[in-house]
């Protein structure tokens, strides 16, 4: 059984089928890419998985649990973390605090613990800070720790979002165009980072616009177009699929 299984997943917005009948397996330990042109429905798939929208039909099963309609905070607690296509950091909190917030799902301190600064709360906070600093280290963000998130260079903000997501120790990480808006060198560096995240034991589902970028690192690629899955399989096969070429280059090309 796969770590994540999407079965006949559908999402309609009024008359628009943003995701139509999508079936997809994410095996534990893999990097799976979701590609497709603008408006294909890629982000909507993520929004369905993390509970921003409830599916119109089909099912989302993660580690034997059905996630359909589950609230985002529960989904995170269940072991899925994500980044956003348009960066959504906590702009006016420090870089360190952003990552510490990311750990929230794994924390236990009650409000009373926090208010009274009980031993349990201070110990937990120290641990969380320690882990957050480790993550900052891993992502080369150490020197920015006390800066506000909004003051980071754009590429660093993208990294910080990934660090924040990893703070919850997810089994599955959803990355929505982590390289968007960065230059080719930064994109390459990000892809290496994605691989090292997988080496840490985190399974990755990756949305990317640029097909060529993900070919080298993906175990499987799924191609969406107008909400439909038009191809899936190992990168080399997908790359040469005539329907994929058509979707990317446009009809008549």
């Amino acid at each position: 059984m796969a770590l994540l299984e999407l079965r006949a997943l559908c999402k309609n917005f009024g008359g628009l089928a943003a995701v139509n009948n999508l079936t997809l397996d994410v095996q534990a330990g893999s990097i799976i890419s979701l590609i497709g042109p603008n408006g294909a429905g890629k982000s909507t798939v993520f929004n369905l998985i993390t509970g921003i929208y409830a599916p119109t039909g089909g099912s989302i099963v993660f580690e034997h649990r059905t996630l359909n309609g589950m609230r985002p905070d529960r989904v995170t607690a269940a072991g899925i973390a994500r980044t956003f296509q348009n960066i959504r950091l906590f702009s006016f909190m420090s870089v360190l605090e952003n990552v510490m917030v990311g750990r929230n799902a794994r924390m236990h301190a009650s409000i009373a613990d926090s208010a009274l600064r009980t031993r349990r709360a201070t110990r937990e906070d120290r641990e969380v800070e320690h882990r957050a600093r480790e993550l900052l280290d891993f992502f080369g963000l150490t020197s920015y720790g006390s800066e506000w998130a909004r003051n980071l260079p754009y590429g660093m903000q993208r990294r910080l979002e990934i660090a924040r997501a990893l703070a919850s120790d997810p089994r599955l990480l959803l990355l929505d165009e982590p390289g968007a808006g960065t230059n080719p060198a930064e994109k390459q560096a990000l892809m290496r980072l994605v691989q090292s995240v997988r080496e840490r034991g985190v399974t990755v589902l990756l949305i990317e616009h640029d097909m060529h970028l993900v070919m080298g690192i993906s175990d499987a690629v799924h191609v969406l177009d107008y909400g439909e899955q038009i191809a899936c399989g190992p990168p080399d096969r997908v790359r040469h699929d005539p329907r994929v070429i058509e979707a990317y280059l446009g009809k008549g090309a």
């Binding site: 982000s43 909507t44 993520f46 929004n47 993390t50 921003i52 929208y53 609230r71 985002p72 905070d73 995170t76 607690a77 973390a81 994500r82 956003f84 296509q85 348009n86 960066i87 959504r88 950091l89 906590f90 702009s91 006016f92 909190m93 605090e97 510490m100 917030v101 990311g102 750990r103 929230n104 799902a105 794994r106 924390m107 301190a109 409000i111 613990d113 926090s114 208010a115 009274l116 600064r117 709360a121 937990e124 906070d125 506000w148 909004r150 924040r164 919850s168």
Partner: protein, 346 residues
């Protein structure tokens, strides 16, 4: 320096009643302490969590009347003052929960309207349930605190120290909260609620906690208010009071405790000391010079004009408040230059 300054201020504040022997001054300082507590409460809701709550004085009223019901001849119940601080905080906090549970799901502007309505309803109810509340006259003869056999009575000095002590304890609690799991959750919600939910924060619970805890602070302020005055009436908790609390936050700088205190102290002194004093002076002057207009002037009536002028001035020259959190300062100066924040895409 950063650690010494607060200590110096605390010690200085402890000496105030020894240096200033005027009872009406001390009374005004104590009332200002009440405004500081109210501003602390509203700051959790508005400053930390970013929820716009109006009509906050309703919780102040609930705290005051809870004590008035349970420690006065009204029902012949005379519970001890000290545990009643906690009880009234809990009752006000519970009302916060009950009001917040259905409304915190609403978007910001609706929350403002619902809380505004609540702020109007509570004094109305207190006015009209006259069988229990004494109607517009309120409840008199409320018990005053005793400590080790010493009765506080109407002497403002012990109340002054009581406010000072409670403010110090509150500061410790609030500072702990601010730098903890829940404090970070509140701020994350303020910054981006959807992203906060994706951190595993149950945003509804966290917002409810902020709302309820803020209300509890108002409840504590209510008990102290009722005990010091020994009487309560609905008119003390109207919209004007809510505006005064919000004005203190805006003036001092939301989200930052030194700013909140500064704002509350300025508005409090203006309201409880400076305007009444100035009224006296002007009236005396008017009587001596036989100018009827001056002799009968009441500057207290113009206090909203004065708040208005102060707030407009602050908004024009220092929109982040006098002592803002670094955050708000940057926020207000950044958005003008870099345009709207990233748009939601889910």
């Amino acid at each position: 320096m950063k650690r010494v300054l607060p200590l110096v201020i605390i010690v200085a504040l402890a000496f105030v009643p020894l240096l200033d022997r005027n009872a009406s001054h001390i009374s005004a300082y104590a009332d200002t302490g009440g405004l500081v507590l109210l501003a602390f409460g509203l700051n959790i809701i508005v400053g930390y969590t970013g929820l716009l709550a109006l009509g906050f004085a309703a919780f102040f009223a609930i705290g005051a009347y809870t004590y008035a019901f349970l420690a006065s001849p009204q029902f012949g119940i005379h519970l001890n003052f000290w545990p009643m601080i906690g009880v009234s905080a809990a009752v006000a906090g519970l009302f916060g929960l009950v009001l917040g549970a259905p409304t915190l799901r609403l978007r910001g502007d609706y929350l403002a309207i619902v809380t505004l309505g609540f702020g109007e309803i509570v004094p109305q109810v207190l006015q009209n349930l006259d069988k229990w509340t004494g109607g517009p006259d309120g409840i008199a003869g409320i018990d005053q605190p005793r400590l080790f056999g010493f009765g506080f009575g109407f002497n403002p000095v012990p109340y002054y120290y009581l406010y000072l002590a409670i403010i110090l304890v509150s500061l410790w609690l609030l500072n702990n909260l601010r730098h903890s799991r829940i404090g970070r959750s509140w701020m994350a919600i303020r910054e981006d609620e959807l992203a906060a939910a994706h951190m595993g924060i149950n945003t509804t619970t966290a917002k409810l906690a902020a709302f309820s805890l803020g209300a509890a602070f108002a409840g504590v302020a209510g008990v102290l208010f009722a005990a010091k005055l020994s009487t309560v009436s609905p008119s003390g908790f109207d919209f004007n009071t809510s505006v005064m609390i919000l004005a203190a936050l805006v003036l001092g700088g939301m989200g930052n405790l030194p700013g909140v205190i500064t704002g509350a102290v300025i508005i409090g002194l203006l309201n409880f000391l400076i305007l009444p004093q100035a009224t006296n002076w002007v009236q005396t002057l008017g009587q001596q010079m036989h100018i009827a207009v001056l002799a009968s002037v009441d500057l207290n009536q113009y206090r909203f004009l004065v708040y208005g002028i102060i707030l407009v001035t602050v908004m024009l020259f220092r929109p982040e408040g006098l002592i803002p959190s670094a955050t708000r300062r940057a926020e207000l100066h950044a958005e003008a230059s870099s345009g709207a924040p990233a748009q939601a895409d889910g």
